[in-house]
């Protein structure tokens, strides 16, 4: 449930919501970190729920001591942008209630559209998916009208439906997002609930997923223009200080 961190309850009417799916390589979460950090977005509330494993730490975006929890909402009123960051896995038995919670929050907040940043196992790509860019998108029917043309201009590729029984029959096609966590189920929920939602995902493998996060967030920026792209090169994203020591502590001096 959303709880405002200040005294006033923020209004998200007409805002765009960006949120990650806890998926392979945590790419969505890393991309969201880049957005919050670069746009210097203030925290406006918490997403306090029993569906996520608890976590507490100091502010991941500055070195100042300010407590952060497992899921928080950040906002940028000029850009009409709200970002939900999820920092811990969803408790397995509560995935369904988490999806329900998200759907009802999106509906009650009056978001113009939502974007789910996600990823999928690269090794599960089939032959048609192996070729070209690793980035894919999905639009719910209610966003189709608004965004379909723009997406076509950008030359994006829609996530392919693959055969349910490859080699036997190609008549039954289904959406398959392995390693995507709630992505597929949440997308299906949004389709049936008539929510304007886009999924943006990247095929990746576990490891150092920072390059994947940059690719995904640049891809998102091509569409939403959150940050001005310089004529030369790409947007300078600000890496938050909490990304330090991603691969462990310093080396023990006794080793040498």
């Amino acid at each position: 449930m959303f709880i405002a961190s200040g005294d006033a309850v923020p209004s998200f009417k007409g805002f765009t919501l960006i949120m990650p799916a806890v998926s392979v390589g945590n790419v969505g979460q890393l991309a969201v970190d880049l957005l919050i950090s670069t746009l210097n977005m203030p925290r406006v509330g918490y997403f306090h729920t029993d569906c996520l494993t608890p976590m507490a730490g100091n502010n991941p975006y500055t070195d100042a001591a300010q407590l952060s929890t497992s899921a928080e909402v950040y906002s940028h009123s000029d850009l009409k942008l709200a970002v939900l960051q999820i920092r811990t896995p969803i408790i397995q038995t509560k995935v369904r209630s988490f999806r329900k919670l998200m759907v009802s929050w999106i509906k009650s907040s009056g978001f113009l559209r939502s974007v789910l940043l996600s990823s999928s196992h690269a090794y599960h790509r089939d032959d048609q998916q192996l070729d070209g860019t690793p980035l894919r998108y999905l639009l719910t029917p209610s966003l189709q009208k608004e965004a379909a043309q723009r997406v076509e201009e950008l030359g994006w590729r829609e996530m392919e439906r693959i055969s349910a029984f490859p080699g036997i029959s190609d008549s039954e096609q289904r959406l398959y997002i392995p390693g995507g966590g709630v992505t597929k189920a949440f997308y299906t929920d949004c389709c049936t609930e008539d929510i304007s939602m886009a999924v943006m995902l990247i095929f990746c493998s576990e490891g150092d997923n920072i390059p994947d996060a940059f690719a995904l967030v640049n891809h998102l920026n091509d569409w939403l223009h959150l940050l001005e792209k310089p004529t030369q090169g790409s947007v300078q994203w600000r890496v938050p200080p909490s990304w330090r020591l991603l691969f462990g502590s310093g080396i023990p001096p006794l080793l040498f």
Binding site: I3, A21, V22, S23, V24, G25, N26, Y46, H48, T49, D50, T53, P54, M55, A56, G57, N58, N59, P60, D63, A65, Q66, L67, T69, S70, P89, I91, Q92, T93, K94, V95, R96, S119, H121, Y176, I177, P178, G179, G180, G181, V182, T183, K184, A185, E206, P241, S242, W243, R244, L245, L246, G248, S249, G250, I251, P252, P253
Partner: protein, 277 residues
């Protein structure tokens, strides 16, 4: 998956395979009933030993101890003075802590448990000693139930927790002489003095301690967490010592801990090493 160094690691994904979700969508009434029953079994409840009027207990300070060193410290330094009485206990069931057989009987002495103690001469201080395992899906509920039974106005929560030094991330390797040490995390509404340096990025706290802290942050309750980083797996008196400064800000501590209790807590680890006996 082979790594750079050639060792073979079992690959696991932080994301759950989606097929599991597919299964859950075609569940029938029976599945739902089983799910409900499991949920019921895993519920957390606070039982009061003395009759209360059902309202929340007035309380100025609540100390919650989680982890071997923290609970050991409470036993040896605080509860041993004899000035404390057990007032309530928390019943829960999960794979690793089966409770006390029946959910309506209080845990016996020495059993892993969650017990709330009250000081006899100043009843506004409560201590919750949690020595049993609280599963991930129960931590949120545990926090709501335990904090729900005390008055949150003017309440200060102090959480004592411990962690292995292996989990501590720092750009310079921690030297042996500095271990064990204490780090703190506090909610925005906690403005009082803190007995240790703040927990640095990118270190975090997880588990029950984090659940309590998150709840307090969201509900604007003043709370501070002291996390002890220790290099000993079993409880040891040196690690317990680190909490002294933190707790003496709330309570008057005995200058010397109870040797008997301390011995009992630390002896458990000695017995396991029987190579030369």
């Amino acid at each position: 998956m082979a790594t750079f160094f050639g060792e073979v690691l079992s690959v696991y994904s932080r994301a759950v395979e989606e097929d599991e979700y597919d299964d859950m969508t075609n569940e029938n009434e029976e599945d739902e009933q089983i799910r409900r029953e499991i949920e019921e079994k895993r519920s957390v409840d606070v039982h009061w030993l003395s009759q209360t009027d059902g309202g929340s207990v007035p309380c100025s300070d609540l100390i919650i101890a989680v982890g071997l060193n923290a609970t050991g410290f409470i036993s040896a330094y605080v509860l041993s003075s004899g000035d404390w009485t057990a007032v309530a206990w928390v019943s829960l069931w999960n794979e690793r802590s089966h409770g006390s057989g029946r959910p309506d009987t209080a845990p016996g002495p020495g059993e892993p448990s969650c017990v709330l103690y009250q000081q006899k001469h100043s009843p506004s201080v409560l201590i919750c000693q949690c020595s049993c395992y609280v599963a991930e899906d129960q931590q949120f509920q545990w926090t709501e139930k335990v904090l729900g039974c005390v008055q949150t106005r003017d309440l200060t929560v102090t959480v004592l927790s411990d962690c292995s030094i292996a989990e501590y991330k720092t750009s310079d390797y921690p030297s042996e002489s500095s271990v064990p040490f204490l780090r703190s995390l506090r909610t925005s509404t906690h403005t009082g003095p803190v007995a240790s340096p703040a927990l640095e990025q990118p270190n975090i706290s997880t588990g029950l301690a984090a659940a309590v802290l998150s709840h307090c942050q969201v509900q604007r309750i003043a709370a501070v967490l002291y996390q002890c980083y220790s290099d000993v797996l079993q409880p040891d008196s040196l690690s317990m010592q680190t909490y002294r400064a933190a707790v003496s800000a709330v309570l008057k501590l005995d200058p010397s801990p109870s040797a008997d209790v301390l011995q009992k807590i630390t002896r458990v680890s000695e017995l396991q090493s029987n190579l030369y006996t």
